[in-house]
């Protein structure tokens, strides 16, 4: 027994040395060639890499495969990745995720994970299913989200209402972005927006702070809304909401002690109209906040080069899928709000999206198997 644990310790030490050597090599690469450029991994490099990883599955069960699949190696790598992430989380403006040591850690984790799944699959039984779900799921996920993501590209596209656009601006390229023609054209049939009712509150004009101080209270500017702030009671007598104009509320403010009534129109204003407040005292007034967007929707038709036309409604949290493309509602003319005459879309091309979803589903089921494992006495 002593001999066995001694051997285990020796192997662990060797593993730490190997990982450290790889990380030092990574630091050297970082120093001499700068941060890792992900584009290097783009097709076909990632497929070649995938092929190399697949070779692990054909390795014979033996010392080499066992060493690659070592459990202590997994623990050391997991700890190292966690420490790298700690660096990422603590040091402002760090570049850990594109640094060579991090990329090499990721790579070692992929090899370790591949080896252990290969080893387990060689002696497969139903008992292994939870293990397979968690580890194969993670492997598929890490590969698609790592080397696979080098094939991903994103573009922004601004489309005017009533017109069709097929040129996009690659995202993340900053000011010198080159507009490129995309294999998709979007026709914006209509852009529409719903807003939450604006809110009313009592504001100190000299400081801009809302009352009561430290615990500001706002109430919804809807018809017949009532509220009490500081020493006034408020009631919304009527509401006007016309196209182009900002919403406006006719507010009655009654000072509780004296019964004095102040009344008048209050509006937050917009690009077309000036704001308006209702004075209560020299410093205090009733003011309206800008209505917050509830939802915004683009009604579109999408054309592809093979002559297909697809109509859809695109919203936040409800993108449109066309082949390997996903089209997201990104923005609009925020100055004009619901009168916006254009809509901004983000287009994401990702050929690895299906393996990614497979990985996610496997891991979700894998997580459920942990309950069953943890439920045993």
């Amino acid at each position: 027994m002593v001999g066995k644990s001694e051997r285990k310790r020796k192997i662990a030490v060797e593993e730490v040395i190997i990982i450290s050597a790889v990380l030092i090599a990574g630091l050297a690469l970082q120093f001499f060639s700068g941060p890792f450029d992900k584009r290097f991994l783009a097709y076909p490099v990632n497929l070649v890499f995938l092929g190399l990883l697949a070779l692990v599955f054909f390795m014979k069960k033996g010392a080499a495969l066992s060493r690659m699949a070592s459990g202590t190696l997994s623990v050391i790598l997991l700890a190292a990745v966690t420490i790298a992430a700690l660096w990422m989380g603590l040091v402002p403006g760090n570049m850990v995720k594109v640094s060579w040591p991090f990329v090499l850690l990721y790579l070692m984790l992929l090899v370790n994970l591949t080896a252990i799944t290969a080893l387990r699959l060689k002696s497969f039984s139903a008992k292994q299913i939870p293990f397979i779900l968690n580890h194969v799921g993670l492997l598929v996920l890490l590969f698609s989200a790592g080397p696979g993501s080098a094939d991903k590209s994103r573009f922004f596209m601004t489309v005017m209402e009533g017109s069709t656009e097929w040129r996009g601006e690659p995202s993340g390229t900053g000011k010198d972005a080159q507009v490129v023609e995309l294999p998709l054209a979007i026709e914006l049939v209509n852009f529409s927006m719903e807003e939450y009712p604006p809110k009313l509150g009592v504001v100190d004009k000299t400081t801009g702070e809302a009352m009561p101080l430290g615990k500001p209270h706002f109430f919804e500017g809807t018809l017949n809304a009532e509220s009490q702030i500081a020493r006034w009671e408020f009631r919304v007598d009527s509401i006007v909401d016309r196209p182009r104009y900002a919403p406006a509320a006719y507010v009655l403010a009654t000072e509780i002690e004296t019964g004095t009534v102040n009344e008048g129109w209050v509006t937050c204003g917009n690009y077309f109209q000036h704001f308006k407040i209702l004075d209560l005292t020299e410093n205090l007034c009733v003011a309206m906040t800008f209505p917050e967007p509830k939802s915004y929707t683009s009604n579109v038709k999408v054309y592809t080069p093979d002559g297909q036309v697809k109509a859809a409604e695109i919203e936040v949290n409800s993108p449109m899928t066309v082949g390997n493309w996903k089209i997201y509602q990104f923005s609009y003319d925020t100055q004009k709000g619901k009168d916006s005459e254009y809509s901004v879309f983000e287009l994401v091309y990702d050929p690895w999206v299906i393996p990614l979803y497979i990985g996610f589903i496997m891991m979700l089921f894998g997580a459920i198997t942990l309950f069953w494992k943890g439920g045993k006495k």
Binding site: V75, N317, L370
Partner: protein
């Protein structure tokens, strides 16, 4: 219903929980104790339901609202664990923690706009947050158990290890589900499953620490060192949940609320 009524439900639930917990320590009152604890849970849950109806959307957005769920879940986790494993202290601990979070909410109510911005309007919203808070509750219980286990270890006792491992497994299961659902949601909302947002980085760190724990357990690492990983992992978890908003590296996170 709104936060104004919280105090009645909170005090009522705490009274049920405290008296129930005292009773389970007596041999005769155990049954009544269980009923009281359960009543406390039901009362507390009914406030959440009422708040949900009153707001018109699930109360899961602000820190105060997540604390509400934490108190709720920790009381359930403590109760179920106590029923299953017969450890009374876990119920006592859960009541204390639930009480702390109840008092934080009473003393520092965070009143926020009730409007839900479009990115938060998703079917993933409720499961993503509740599953995370539930996992925090389980891992919190595992942490307390680990302190007791560290003490017992000096006497050569290992009796708590199965409980700790089970809590960590189930907690990690929920943690992983929360993370995976968050990623699926992120893909729908802004086109990326994962973007190393500060909260994501810390969620990753937390998951990494617990993954190290369960793998090291399988490999039978020495417990006198390994058990300290659980309090450490829980500190990381608390940074993920509460601390992230205050970190300099985390300014501009999409998860700030």
């Amino acid at each position: 219903m709104s936060w104004n009524e919280f105090i009645y439900f909170a005090i009522g639930s705490l009274l049920f929980w405290i008296s129930g917990t005292i009773l389970i320590y007596t041999s005769k009152g155990a049954r009544l104790g269980n009923i009281l604890i359960l009543s406390g849970i039901v009362l507390f849950g009914s406030f959440i339901v009422g708040l949900w109806i009153g707001k018109g959307h699930p109360p899961l957005r602000t820190m105060g609202e997540t604390r509400l769920w934490y108190s709720f879940f920790i009381s359930i986790v403590g109760f179920v664990t106590y029923l299953h494993w017969k450890y009374k202290w876990i119920m006592g601990y859960s009541v204390v923690v639930a009480g702390v979070f109840v008092f934080v909410n009473l003393l520092k109510p965070e009143i926020h706009t009730t409007n839900l911005m479009p990115a938060l309007q998703s079917v993933w919203f409720v499961p993503h947050v509740t599953v995370y808070i539930l996992s925090y509750a389980l891992l919190g219980a595992a942490t307390i158990a680990s302190f007791i286990a560290i003490k017992e270890l000096k006497k050569g006792e290992y009796g708590l290890m199965p409980l700790i491992d089970n809590l960590v497994y189930i907690g990690l299961g929920f943690l992983m589900m929360g993370m995976l659902m968050g990623a699926l949601w992120a893909k729908e909302a802004w086109g990326d499953f994962w973007s190393w947002d500060p909260k994501e980085v810390w969620a990753f760190i937390t998951a990494g620490a617990y993954l190290v724990y369960i793998h090291a357990r399988i490999l039978k690492f020495r417990l006198n060192l390994l058990l300290w990983l659980l309090p450490l992992a829980f500190v990381l978890l608390m940074i993920t949940w509460i601390g992230v908003n205050y970190l300099p590296a985390a300014q501009g996170s999409i998860h700030v609320y």
